[in-house]
């Protein structure tokens, strides 16, 4: 269970998150929607522990463990996974090598034995089959020269390999055509197992047609302005964010 | 015989004494530069800076300053003038200002376009403040020599916010004689914040006897300035052209300088650009046509002193006959110059068996967050492309000419000044076999 309490975060002195309360019980899929600049991506990056953002108040726990106390790699080992909006290219490092290092780091943390090359490839095969993803990207450098769709598929594949408890998808749908969107959402749906939780951050309702959330939160001006069921997403699609923005007082600058 | 033993103390001394006896605000600088030249001596191929350029013929020539009474008729300059655009024209013959051939015209209020000789008297302040600040005359013998003999040339001052609409065109005409002469034209271009200016320098020769032309141009650009500078080198077949360009620029300033090395026995194009403000761009380009036994040496240094600047060096050499070229492009990035983006390219096209190429693309980097790349290539025409064109009905030689022109055109097409671009296209095409054919193709669009 991910529990966020009264979370305030700022970047270079400007407050972006202004008191977020959010609880995601195990096995649930929550979505965060919101207009540009509402703080969606900041929330994702604060969860992952990027240093640019300073948490000034509040707490984040994952199954009771204080995430804010941990370095980004420790959070990952504890089971927090973020699918990046813009996955970074790492020239010269093959995806296979990278993933094996990541899998073994996480396994070491969980006091599991290191996978040797053979075991690792078996795992790759198994996960690729389960997600119907092809493994041709594995021999290329991490994200280097990948198309937008390939990058997002690689993120989902990494998610499957690392077996996280809590997955954060940061605008994974941005820049994807409908086919790629389906591949990504099929992957996520295949990973829904009743225990794993998801936080799906998106600007558009489109993705939520494929990954159906249990709860939808609307983030406006660094606060959760409204929470509802999946029908809230459809409402937003139809009416836009203006109504909620007005309601929460953004329009008059408060 | 080596050249560094040749610096007998009397080199140019009588001329120098005459000049320095005139006194004036530059006497001290001249004195210092002269002493420095004597100390440095003529450059040798054992030093790094002139490793590939043999200055022995210059050192061994009994050079003397040209006499002021050389006649040149306007008709002799026609082919060098810019057509279709008004210019502010200054003509110097063997380094001496020629009033009859010059036509400065009127310049917008506040702008000065004049002879350096007048400016030394009338704008002493500006001249003494900037002259010699953009080049390293203490380490380059030719720059030192020019500075020792600085007397006349172009002076240009564009005050803050003023756009000088029409290009300034300076023609350095050299008419060599029986005895080898030397001229040291100097240009000082000062453009204040927000100013804009274009300057074209044409160095042209009217005779093939040996002589030395040693022009130095300095550009001092403030903040948010835009300067386009061109130097066209069309010297006589016996001329050693050792040119220098110094450039220093402030915040948000964009300077383009392009050197077209077309004619002369030896052409050295030394350029030093110092990006001394943030967000600046220095764009140095050059094309060299190297035929006969010509040697062209592009010797560059770009100093990135402040963050967030871009620089480009883009130099193309086309070699035929026994031509030879050298390129040295040093990008220096100071520790503070983070986010520098510097690209350096030298491409050499070999069209003959005896052509020789030397290239030294160099990086010297002391900052970590920078993007610096350089590339150098040496090769012949793409035979497959030539064959393809041939197969489409273009004659073999015309196909080769077309590809050669395409190679050159990557430099020419960036010339902003349209009449100059057209002139360069014509000049290049004229030299290529079946160029006339290509010229007519070109005029289709």
């Amino acid at each position: 269970m991910l529990q966020i309490t009264n979370l305030h975060a700022s970047v270079e002195g400007t407050e972006i998150l202004r008191g977020i309360d959010l609880t995601i019980p195990s096995g649930e899929v929550h979505s965060i929607m919101g207009p540009n600049g509402s703080g969606k991506s900041t929330l994702a990056r604060v969860l992952a522990g990027e240093e640019t953002y300073e948490v000034t108040e509040g707490s984040i726990t994952l199954d009771g463990e204080d995430l804010l106390d941990m370095d980004p790699d420790e959070r990952a080992c504890e089971g927090l996974f973020m699918a990046f909006q813009y996955p970074v290219e790492i020239p010269g490092v093959s995806t296979k090598y990278f993933l094996r290092a990541a899998v073994n780091a996480v396994r070491a943390h969980r006091e599991l034995s290191e996978l040797d090359a053979y075991e690792f490839l078996q795992l790759v095969k198994e996960k690729a089959q389960a997600l119907a993803l092809d493994t041709s990207l594995l021999d290329r450098s991490v994200n280097e020269g990948f198309s937008g769709g390939e990058k997002k598929r690689a993120e989902i594949f990494q998610m499957a390999m690392l077996d996280p408890k809590m997955c954060v998808l940061d605008e994974t749908d941005s820049g994807l055509d409908i086919d790629a969107l389906k591949v990504v959402s099929d992957g996520v749906n295949a990973l829904r197992d009743g225990n794993r939780s998801f936080l799906v951050i998106t600007h558009y309702q489109r993705l939520l047609n494929y990954i159906v959330p249990d709860v939808v939160h609307v983030l406006v001006n660094g606060r959760i302005a409204r929470t509802g069921g999946k029908e809230l997403a459809q409402l937003l699609e139809a009416e836009g964010y203006a109504g909620i923005e007005a309601e929460s007082g953004v329009a008059n600058g408060a | 015989m080596t050249t560094d033993t040749m610096n007998d103390q009397h080199l140019f001394e009588s001329e120098f004494t005459r000049l320095v006896d005139l006194g004036g605000p530059l006497a001290g600088l001249r004195r210092e530069a002269y002493d420095r030249f004597i100390e440095l001596g003529w450059p040798t191929m054992r030093g790094e800076a002139y490793r590939y350029t043999d200055c022995r013929p210059i050192a061994e020539a009994d050079l003397q300053l040209a006499s002021p009474d050389v006649e040149v008729a306007m008709d002799e300059l026609r082919s060098h003038l810019l057509e279709g655009v008004p210019t502010h024209r200054l003509v110097f013959v063997n380094g001496v200002y020629n009033d009859t051939l010059s036509d400065i015209g009127t310049v917008p209020g506040g702008v000065t376009v004049t002879r350096l000789a007048s400016a030394i008297e009338d704008q002493e302040d500006l001249v003494t403040r900037h002259l010699g600040t953009t080049i390293d005359w203490k380490s380059d013998a030719f720059d030192a020599l020019n500075t020792a003999f600085v007397e006349d040339g172009l002076f240009m001052h564009v005050p803050a916010g003023v756009h000088l609409e029409h290009p300034v065109h300076v023609l350095h005409v050299t008419r060599p004689g029986a005895k080898p002469i030397v001229s040291h034209p100097r240009a000082l271009i000062v453009v204040e914040d927000g100013g804009r200016a274009t300057c074209v320098e044409t160095c042209c020769g009217l005779g093939d006897e040996p002589c030395l032309v040693n022009p130095v141009t300095e550009i001092v650009a403030g903040h948010d300035v835009h300067v386009d500078h061109y130097r066209i080198v069309r010297e006589g077949a016996g001329t050693w052209h050792i040119g220098g360009l110094g450039l220093i620029q402030g915040n948000g300033t964009n300077v383009n300088s392009c050197c077209m090395a077309l004619d002369g026995a030896l052409i050295r194009n030394g350029m030093t650009a110092t990006l001394d403000g943030t967000d600046g761009m220095a764009n140095l380009r050059g094309l060299a046509l190297v035929d006969g036994t010509r040697h062209v040496d592009n010797f560059l240094r770009v100093n990135h002193m402040k963050p967030d600047c871009n620089s480009r060096e883009y130099f193309k050499h086309i070699l035929s006959d026994k031509g030879s070229t050298s390129f040295t492009g040093r990008i220096y990035v100071e520790q503070d110059a983070q986010k520098t983006d510097a690209v350096q390219t030298n491409m050499n096209l070999l069209l003959s068996e005896q052509a020789r190429v030397r290239t030294r693309p160099q990086l010297e980097i002391f900052a970590d967050d920078v993007k610096c790349t350089h590339g150098a290539t040496i090769g012949r025409l793409d035979e497959q492309a030539a064959f393809y064109l041939h197969a489409r009905g273009i004659g073999r030689e015309a196909a080769r000419s077309l590809l050669t022109f395409a190679f050159a055109n990557e430099v020419i097409e960036d010339i902003e000044l349209l009449p100059l671009r057209r002139k360069m296209e014509t000049l290049i095409l004229e030299r290529l076999p079946h160029g006339d054919l290509l010229q007519s193709m070109d005029s289709v669009d």
Partner: protein, 487 residues
Amino acid sequence: MANDSNQMLDAWAEQNDYKWGFVTDIESETLPPGLDEDVVRAISARKKEPQWLLEWRLKAYRHWLTMDEPDWAHFPDHDWRPIDYNGISYYSAPKSDDDRPKSLDEVDPKLLETYEKLGIPLEERAALAGVAVDAVFDSVSVATTYREKLAEVGVIFCPISEAVHDHPELVQQYLGRIVPPNDNFFAALNSAVFTDGSFVFIPKGVTCPMELSTYFRINSLNTGQFERTLIIAEEGASVSYLEGCTAPMRDENQLHAAVVELIALDDASIKYSTIQNWYPGDENGKGGIYNFVTKRGLCEGDRSHISWTQVETGSAITWKYPSCILKGHDSIGEFYSVALTNMKQQADTGTKMIHIGRNTRSNIVSKGISAGNGQNTYRGQVKIRPKATNARNYTQCDSMLMGDRCGAHTFPYIEADNDTAIVEHEASTSKIGEDQIFYCNQRGISSEDAVSMIVNGFCREVLAELPMEFAVEAKKLLEVSLEGSVG
């Protein structure tokens, strides 16, 4: 100084039965510091060398006296301590056991930690640290073990001092042919005073059945300042030779001036790999080796092939340009290099590819990594001579900078005198992005592992050229060398 050394030499000579020999057990002795003709004679006598070699050394010495120390690569702000050539001892047999640490307990724990990280077994660690505990790693016995197996196929692999006696005709024919004694300041010095090194001869048509290595031998000799290596591959022969300098030296600013000469005849192939990890000095630039090495290969025969691979992580200052003279038609020269500088290290390294024969090819891949206050320079020359029709060169120089007090410099010299030449040079610089580290972190990978992963990725083309075991060692070495350079 010279006077003292003369007296010492006289004293030595008097003890001996014949003038230039040493009968006393001088294994535990070191020549007093200083260099003059008598020192050269003493070294030659100690090695019981033939007259021609003594004269060869003396000629080199006399020429050296007329030469100036080069200064092309000095960085003005570096704390360069001039080398006192009379302050060096030119013959230093293993130090007496009294001087050595008696056990690992007496060895600098930092050093041991490094060995442990390198995965070097305990016994070997002891040998590296100069502890006299084990003779298994004695070079002679190692070489001897292999020597019989090698002799079966006609391969000669022995210390060069032995080759002088056992194969004088080969040594005399080839020594100094590729690097003449007057080639440069340090080569001249080496020629005058070299004390050890390897000799390898692969006869016609033979593929050397195993990788040859000086890994143990150099380490077991307490000093390796002036090695001389000569490798000859006859027609159709091939050999892969590994040189591991993983023994950090403890002395301060010690000079290491080796010379390596390779000769490949028709269809022969020589692959020479180096891992250099001499003592780099400390964080403040105190101490460390001055590593001024001349390495050159001659592709004498048609279709011959010489390939240099180096991973340079040690030494305070490295000047080293392993080169290929591509004389045979269709010959190939290669240079793959990783140079890492941290703390106040300076590496000035690169290659020369001299194309003389037709259809010659050369390939240069240089990866420089600068961290801390390190300065890393690629300096290389590609020369296409007039008769080298259809010569090709491709050069790639990439630099990675870590931190804002280091430097990366690229000084190539490209000279083409033949119009059929195709020469391409590319260089780039990069840094490890914060975003790359964060991305790795988010997948559970620590920052330190992320850096070493990215650095290894940056170097992969070079590491791929190394034999397997060496590649593993090189990777670990890069990790160890970068430790603490990531904030």
